[in-house]
């Protein structure tokens, strides 16, 4: 599989916890690999914060967006492409 480079942006408590706003991550184009590679940089707890191993998917209350689209709204197979911007938010709200 071709290696792609994506930019991950962290917000709110995730940003505070890991002390970074954004980072570039190289992965094989799958969501799982992206998160795993990011956790190699940020620390193992990042994987658990974002991914639910039991369910085999991104945690229910994490808002995970690829180029501004929430992955829950994407009908096509999720694939990370070169230069994609990934925004990850913990549960937040306002109004």
């Amino acid at each position: 599989m071709a290696i792609v480079s994506a930019r991950i942006m962290l917000f709110a408590t995730l940003r505070k916890k890991y002390g970074v706003k954004d980072l570039n991550v190289e992965c094989d184009g799958t969501l799982f690999d992206l998160i795993e590679k990011a956790s190699k940089i940020l620390g193992e707890s990042f994987f658990d914060d974002v991914y639910d191993k039991k369910q085999g998917k991104v945690r229910e209350n994490i808002i995970f967006m690829i180029n501004g689209r929430n992955i829950k709204d994407l009908e096509e197979k999720i694939e990370i492409k070169d230069k994609d911007v990934i925004a990850i938010f913990p549960p937040i709200a306002g109004g």
């Binding site: 942006m9 917000f11 709110a12 408590t13 940003r15 706003k21 209350n61 808002i63 967006m65 180029n67 501004g68 689209r69 929430n70 829950k72 709204d73 925004a87 938010f89 913990p90 549960p91 937040i92 709200a93 306002g94 109004g95």
Partner: protein, 615 residues
């Protein structure tokens, strides 16, 4: 009369100087709960009475003696353990900004303290000859001279009156210079920084020469089933503490944490809604606020969430010793929509809005509209008198605010709100408003459901009438695609109805991130002793929404007014994830009217009958 109520309403006629105490009606309360619902019912009776006297709705001058202002709390307000119940609702027969029903809601302490002072509501009629304030202390009310307070700002008025009236649980709701000068977006502010912001009710108060209402008392709200209530309250408060949003997200970051996510979704209005992507969003975000000017947080009375921000700007040109906010909507309007990227200027602008008594949403949106008018060359230079109204000009933003409050120079045009401002300069399409009320910071080209809500919201461009951003962006209680118009009507209707219940309870809408209509039914049943089901309370909400709509119809608003600014319907979003999108409003609206049982924005007689609304 049932429990949950103080069983008394104060009716003040400022023209003759009388204060009368009337019983709260159990029949009305059972049908309309309290707060907004009760006020809507009373306002409709005023309209009917005026019509019987030959005064048509169109004849009502929003700044005249015939306008009526109603402050109301509900059965949940001020009950210890009732989730986030430190709020009140205030309504007017006619808003100076929109020409239709006026409606606003505020937190702080004033709502519960009105209850502790012994009243469920205060109705204000007429116009006083000289400035007055109403003092309500432990069941007694009187009119007092406020000549020495006229001209004073909100902070001074709150401080002086709180000291003067003294006593336990004392709180002041007042208008500031903007209200005295009839700026159409003047708001009512209580406890210094909590605003009943929308629809210009501060101007109504100012026109009545009513500077403030001070409430104070040590009353307790009677409960029907205290033990049962304790049990349900504990369950609900636990759920709120455990909920990721109400237990952590809102307390930690407040509402402006939304800036980055809404911008990422392509829906953060930038430069008067020319696009939904702000390249400087990060600079004005909740994360940046937390790292820079945030000093503390503050909760409204009895609230376990505590979303309020305490801020301070210690250096630079926009210093503020101590302030509260800005909230997400204030940052959206005063910052993003004006293109201002200096967060300290936004904090200062927001602080001025509180100090002078201005609605930050309409204020920011009106300045943004003026900036676009100016950049397109539609405002003659002489009108601006040296004001450099360009997008991104932080100093101009701050200057516009005090100019508006005092109607100084160009401020006299700004004080009319964006709709009238844009009409004066020949380009009404540049006002980002619905029914005369400026829309908050969500571009519906990127979040379709909120577009249907803006179009159909009774008070005009309002997000909290039916806040579908919750499922569309935040995915609560389930995720729906913001870019699809399909299926949005049912969400809009249910959110609008449920919000009426919240605003009539009266407590905070943010509880609904964690609590359901069923929780509300159980809480309210234990407080009042009525056996309310989830369906019962949603039906009450629907009834309130429909009666409010009947009032709108009387002012001549119907389906033609349930619309959006041309920009959102015709100009495709130029960039971001919603690139190429417009709002497919008609499609959503048809489905919405069908679900509501309305024809062209008007409830059918069958619908009114079904909801037991007597007209």
């Amino acid at each position: 009369m049932s429990n949950g109520y103080m069983r008394k309403i104060l009716r003040v006629d400022l023209s003759v100087g009388t204060l009368n105490i009337e019983p709260t009606s159990e029949d009305i309360a059972k049908k309309y709960l309290g707060g907004k619902g009760y006020a809507v019912y009373l306002l409709y009776q005023y309209l009917k009475e005026y019509e019987s006297k030959g005064i048509s709705p169109a004849d009502i001058n929003p700044l005249g003696s015939e306008n009526v202002l109603i402050f109301a709390n509900g059965p949940g307000t001020g009950v210890p353990g009732f989730p986030s119940s430190g709020r009140y609702h205030v309504m007017a027969l006619k808003s100076p900004l929109t020409g239709s029903i006026g409606s606003a809601n505020s937190g702080g302490e004033w709502g519960p303290f009105l209850k502790f002072s012994g009243f469920d509501a205060v109705i204000v009629e007429g116009v006083s000859k000289k400035p007055v304030y109403i003092a309500i202390v432990n069941g007694e009310a009187e009119l007092r001279n406020a000549s020495d307070l006229w001209g004073k700002n909100v902070f001074d008025t709150c401080r002086i009156l709180k000291k003067k009236v003294g006593g336990e649980n004392t709180s002041v709701a007042c208008e500031g210079p903007a209200g005295e000068n009839s700026a159409h977006m003047a708001c009512i502010v209580n406890d210094e920084h909590r605003a009943a912001g929308r629809t210009g009710l501060g101007a109504v108060m100012g026109s009545k020469k009513l500077k403030a209402i001070v409430v104070s008392g040590s009353g307790k709200v009677p409960l029907a089933k205290p033990d049962k209530f304790k049990e349900i309250s504990k369950r609900c408060l636990d759920a709120m503490r455990k909920n990721a949003v109400t237990g952590e997200g809102l307390p930690t970051y407040g509402t402006s944490i939304l800036i980055n996510i809404i911008n990422t979704a392509g829906g953060l209005p930038y430069k008067n809604w020319q696009t939904g992507v702000n390249p400087n969003a990060e600079k004005i975000s909740g994360e940046t606020l937390a790292e820079t000017y945030l000093t503390n947080r503050r909760a409204c009375w009895g609230c376990t969430i505590g979303c309020g921000r305490v801020t301070s700007v210690k250096s630079g040109s926009f210093q503020v010793l101590s302030s509260e906010g800005p909230e997400y909507e204030s940052v959206g309007a005063l910052g993003s929509s004006t293109g201002v990227k200096e967060l300290d200027a936004v904090v200062k602008a927001n602080h001025y809005c509180d100090e002078l008594g201005l609605d930050s949403i309409t204020m920011g949106s009106t300045i943004a509209a003026a900036m676009e008018l100016n950049e397109r060359g539609y405002i003659p230079k002489e009108d601006l008198q040296g004001l450099d109204l360009k997008f991104g000009n932080a100093a101009a933003l701050v200057e516009c605010i005090w100019r508006t409050a005092y109607k100084a120079g160009f401020g006299k045009y700004l004080a009319l709100g964006s709709k009238k401002l844009c009409e004066i300069y020949g380009h009404p399409e540049l006002s980002m408003s619905v029914k005369g009320l400026e829309m908050p910071a969500y571009d519906p080209r990127a979040i379709k459901g909120i577009g249907l809500n803006y179009a159909t919201a009774n008070r005009g461009g309002c997000h909290v009438t039916g806040y579908t951003v919750v499922p569309e962006i935040l995915g609560i209680p389930e995720k729906i695609d913001p870019l699809k118009p399909e299926g949005k009507a049912k969400w809009v209707k249910i959110f609008q109805d449920f919000t009426c219940v919240v605003n009539s309870t009266v407590n905070c809408l943010f509880t609904t991130f964690a609590l359901s209509a069923k929780d509300y039914a159980e809480l309210l049943s234990a407080v009042t002793g009525w056996n309310l089901t989830e369906n019962d309370i949603l039906r009450i909400g629907e009834r309130i929404y429909n009666l409010e709509r009947v009032i709108l119809n009387k002012y001549g608003f119907d389906g033609k007014d349930d619309t959006l600014p041309r920009r959102l319907l015709k100009e495709a979003m130029p960039e971001g994830p919603a690139k190429g999108h417009i709002v497919e409003l008609e499609k959503m609206k048809d489905e919405y009217y069908r679900l509501r049982g309305w024809i062209n924005g008007v409830p059918t007689l069958e619908k009114l009958k079904e909801l037991e609304i007597e007209i």
